[in-house]
Assembly symmetry: C2
Homo-oligomer: 268 residues x 2
């Protein structure tokens, strides 16, 4: 249906309780990138929040159909998938409900400047203990991103117990002495699909990986620092809290991974 006709009930648990999960899938010239990985993660998120949706695997076809109907099947686009528990009482633990499934496509608004590098700030990670579930409970991320915007920078990196976990909508990678470092997949970060692809590319290119968290004071002492996310791929970080990372320019491993990711995604 036309977006303007789409209507959510004010009693939808997604509106009243952040009681839902979501995915954003990139499509490159009509090809959905890593959609099996996205749907597998969606199933894990649904299981974690106890929402039963039997037909998640059919969403790949639905997404492709929506791209066609919106004439986005030859263009770069994103597919947004959100599932909530559905319409139910405003009690903490509601009775059975029929889940709300919302799928929408949008043309990709390319922000090419991002691949040349961004600045970031750090903020305390006060989010809940299950950031591995991709829930719609994004207010802490939104508030942190607003603080980044206030400071005129692109992103805020969360610090928990002295270590970088992730950004408000990105995973974080460092490079030190030729090794790529990133937070291990645990309850404090989202296991990003782009993160997974990056680690696969490192292995393919023979770049050593260490899934160990980066201490905050090390951030600007790294040789390179970059972010990954579904829509913007690989983003060099040039400054942290107004201090340059190394020489303040995108590093060679970052550049190599950017190119490798571009090649992979465009032929996917």
């Amino acid at each position: 249906m036309p977006g303007s006709r789409a209507c959510i009930s004010p009693n939808d648990r997604g509106f009243t309780h952040a009681d839902g999960v979501y995915e954003i899938v990139r499509s490159y010239a009509g090809t959905l990138f890593r959609i099996p990985d996205h749907l597998a993660r969606l199933k894990r998120s649904l299981a974690a929040v106890r929402i039963a949706v039997p037909d998640v695997d059919t969403f790949a076809e639905t997404a492709a159909e929506l791209l066609r109907r919106n004439r986005l099947d030859k263009k770069d686009a994103t597919v947004y998938i959100q599932i909530t528990r559905g319409i139910a009482e405003r009690m903490r633990a509601p009775g059975p409900a029929i889940p709300t499934v919302y799928i929408e496509t949008s043309p990709l608004i390319a922000r090419r400047a991002l691949c040349r590098g961004v600045s970031v700030i750090t903020l305390p990670d006060i989010r809940w203990g299950r950031c591995d579930i991709k829930t719609i409970g994004l207010l802490p991320n939104a508030l942190a991103r607003m603080q980044a915007t206030d400071k005129g920078v692109y992103e805020a990196l969360f610090i928990r117990d002295g270590f970088v976990t992730e950004g408000t909508h990105t995973n974080v990678f460092g490079v030190k002495d030729g090794t790529v470092l990133t937070h291990p997949p645990d309850h404090h970060i989202l296991p990003g699909i782009t993160r997974t692809v990056l680690l696969e590319l490192c292995r393919a290119l023979g770049i050593p990986i260490s899934e160990s968290p980066i201490p905050e004071p090390e951030l600007t002492r790294l040789d390179e620092l970059f972010l990954t996310c579904t829509t913007a791929e690989v983003i060099p970080v040039l400054r942290v809290n107004d201090v340059a990372v190394a020489d303040g320019k995108p590093g060679p491993i970052t550049r190599r991974l950017q190119s490798a990711f571009r090649r992979l995604s465009r032929r996917a």
Copy 2:
């Protein structure tokens, strides 16, 4: 408008980002209980999440009008008020938007059995670090309440660093040697309106208060344990994780506060 006609956009930030706050106000035979306190807290929540709504003070009249139109102005009812950032891009930090204000009244479904006492479980408090803001990001609370329901009990009490913070929708009070204990108002609990009223009643009745958190192992060694919330008022807790609190019956101070609360609210 009729509830069935109310329609929220799927691009409302309340649906996509839990980007909103709420209040539930009790009305006793048409009189809104402590509505100035609820609206003051709503203003604090809005400021904390940076949503600007200038006319919060007019909501008292709107709520009263809604009670009249729904023929609830002589009955016990609840007024639900939710404000979100409004319709905006699905970016972490959106541009300016017109906030969505949703106000709904419902007849109160009295659960009289609650005042005779309930059982609870304890669970780790994995919620975010700003539980003092009454946001719609309630999924952690919903998941905890589901676990309580699984165990056949009424409520889950959250444990952070070994101490009880609050329940999924209640504040928690203990009684030991005649003193009423409850978690101090900080970032880890919601400053409940019923909690505030309870402390006022204690002062009026000459019951000593200590705003200090209760260690989890002390829960069943207390003389009395009770919960407070807007809709169910004062709820004795008789068992924690299947162990009786004291003799497993509502205690005398709990009973005294239940009666005092009832008298106060019915003549408000």
